[in-house]
Symmetry: C2
Subunit: 395 residues, 2 copies
């Protein structure tokens, strides 16, 4: 039985090592004036930013560069939109990690407006965005958020009154996503690990999501299949292996497509309040909680009896795939659930994912976090006790 579903557009995807050069032939379709949104330094250090600037100059393309430091805040977005609103920008290009590609997305959406992005953030502002934007090309340099394929930009303000909320509209899906694994080769191990776990979490959560559909099922499973053998090498001996980086980039891209269409679960539910109150990278939150939250979901699903069967079978499919075995019908699924949990725990150790307390989160913060955690499309309802247990195990 196929459930009714909507599937949003996806960007035009250009995937492959060296494909960054396709950018230069694409730009003239949009116009002559480009705003490049970049991160703080790494693109510059690698020499890639200079390469891009030279190519744009050769094509007589007028460009501005706007730098994003850390995760994007309303101020950063508003400052950029004020600065470039009257400069007749034809195209915004966001090239960097998830923070940068999200910032670029928000800037491209806010240039046509007159006010602050804060007014349009879910749960913060009272206006809803109408989707009108400057055309936008996203070029990720990490394999993490999948922002290059999503319809939302996450904007945060950190602190006790902080928030981590989305500007969202179907039309904010980037027009083009250029996925060039060459750009990811210089990403350091710790960032590769955190981003990779974020992407894998997105794949798992959208695969078991209560809002999944056959398209997101097929894609999420494919993304996990490619990532599973690449995740550890990408953070160690395989970091400069282009096949490893390609698999990571593919998984990340797919995770953006599936999360945009199937939604996410409790791990991303936790990530909103934790990311709003504490200065902790989003990927670390996801990575450090993935095994524990999966264990809890499976435990509670088992208590549900037949009601939990479909989701348990999906988790077992992941476990079977992780052990390179197909799930045979009628076979005991418990062993594959065990393999799934063991593999995720193993990854958490191997990738040395920080515990939450490393970022100043203590026992006293747990109630506050749990009170502000949404279950999203988690495959099973968890109560506060369950949520507290997940967090305590990773404190």
């Amino acid at each position: 039985m196929i459930p009714s579903f909507n599937f949003a557009r996806i960007p035009h995807i250009i995937f492959g090592p060296g494909k960054l050069v396709n950018l230069y032939s694409l730009i003239p379709q949009y116009g002559k004036s480009v705003l490049l949104v970049v991160g703080a330094g790494s693109l510059e250090k690698s020499g890639k930013l200079d390469e891009i600037k030279i190519a744009l100059e050769e094509k007589l393309i007028d460009y501005h560069v706007y730098e994003i430091k850390g995760e994007p805040s309303p101020n950063m977005v508003d400052k950029a939109t004020k600065m470039y609103r009257n400069k007749r920008i034809d195209l915004v290009i966001g090239i960097g990690g998830g923070s940068v590609t999200d910032a670029g997305k928000a800037i491209s959406a806010m240039i046509p407006k007159e006010d602050s992005v804060k007014n349009y953030l879910e749960g913060i502002g009272i206006k809803s965005h109408n989707g009108k934007k400057i055309p936008y090309i996203a070029i990720p340099t990490t394999s993490g958020t999948g922002s290059e394929a999503t319809k939302n930009a996450v904007i945060s303000e950190i602190g006790h009154d902080g928030f981590k909320k989305s500007l969202r509209h179907d039309n904010l899906i980037p027009d083009v996503a250029i996925i060039d694994p060459e750009l990811m080769k210089s990403c350091p191990a710790s960032i590769t690990a955190a981003c990779g776990m974020d992407a894998f979490t997105q794949l798992v959560e959208s695969y078991v999501s209560s809002n999944a559909n056959p398209i997101t099922d097929a894609l999420a499973f494919s993304g996990m299949k490619y990532m599973k053998d690449a995740l550890i090498p990408a953070c160690s001996h395989g970091s400069s292996d282009i096949n490893v980086r390609s698999s990571m980039a593919y998984g990340s891209l797919i995770s953006g497509i599936t999360l945009a269409n199937a939604g996410l679960g409790v791990i991303h539910g936790f990530a909103s309040p934790i990311g709003a109150y504490f200065k902790i990278p989003h990927g670390v939150v996801c990575g450090t909680l993935l095994a524990e939250a999966t264990k809890m979901n499976i435990k509670v699903l088992k208590e549900r009896g037949s009601e939990g069967e479909v989701s348990l079978e999906k988790y077992a499919h992941i476990g079977a795939m992780l052990s390179n075995e197909p799930l045979n019908k009628g076979e005991e699924i418990s062993q594959y659930l065990l393999i799934l949990i063991e593999t995720l725990e193993n990854w958490t150790d191997l990738l040395k994912l920080d515990k939450l307390s490393n970022y100043g989160i203590s026992n006293e913060d747990i109630t506050y976090i749990v009170d502000n955690t949404a279950l999203k499309n988690n495959p099973v309802s968890l109560n506060k006790k369950d949520l507290i247990e997940i967090l305590k195990n990773r404190l």
Copy 2:
């Protein structure tokens, strides 16, 4: 190793029984004046056309109805574009079988032009289309061509100087595809069979295509998985079962997405000249040739030794899936190749797919057909002898 690939946009998909009603809330986004492209009669007979007209009138939407009889010819498209070019049409809606959704697509692309669609057909005209079009919503009433998700419209002129060629541009992918399996319940068995075999052929051919990528692999496999248990029931006792029709509609939709991004093989290579010279439904050509062409591809791939292994494994995956077994590594793949061929032959018999001679095709026509057959993205190169053998076995 992930190959470099491009993936075109897909339409915004609205899938599910009863989802046709979503059309009425979508239209005002585009404007007030709509051109409905419909088929000859079946939509009218079922009362659906009246239902749509009433809904449009209630919403005060101005509409015109243009009827397509049979597969679209340049004349049909040109006549419509001449008629509506000066009528300020805001949105074209194609609702019908593949011929109708293709015709609607072509009309939406040709209204902004001043000349004949013939000038823009691949291999026929010398102009290339720039992608500028009137927004277009496709609503299929058969599960066949997948046209609701593709970037091309097939236009033909039948006869000895005939052709069956595409108007193609990435931007011609419909803006929205509404897939409502309710609309397919009244589709008669013979048309359901031919269309279903067309869709399944598209899934097989794009799955084993030399231009496949991980996204098309995952999707094509998913499409086949849903179709395999629905195809025979849809043409017999399950024709009014909404789950059966949903699976067929899903497979067909996916086949459009995968063919647009991975290409097709020799069966669709045959379909161009056969469809151009003879009055034979496209789905019958595909359906009647699927088993024979697959058998030949497998035979020739086996002769290629290690070079053919990847494609043979893909074919074996389909065979394993058809027998509800996962392909276990190291296991003999030959048995699954056999199952694949046997299943396709069995379907050909069960669905009573006509032989080519039923449409006036004789031994004398074979050379001419073969001389005009392109291999497209077939997984292996076939020579003329191979092509002749395929056709002779279905004469």
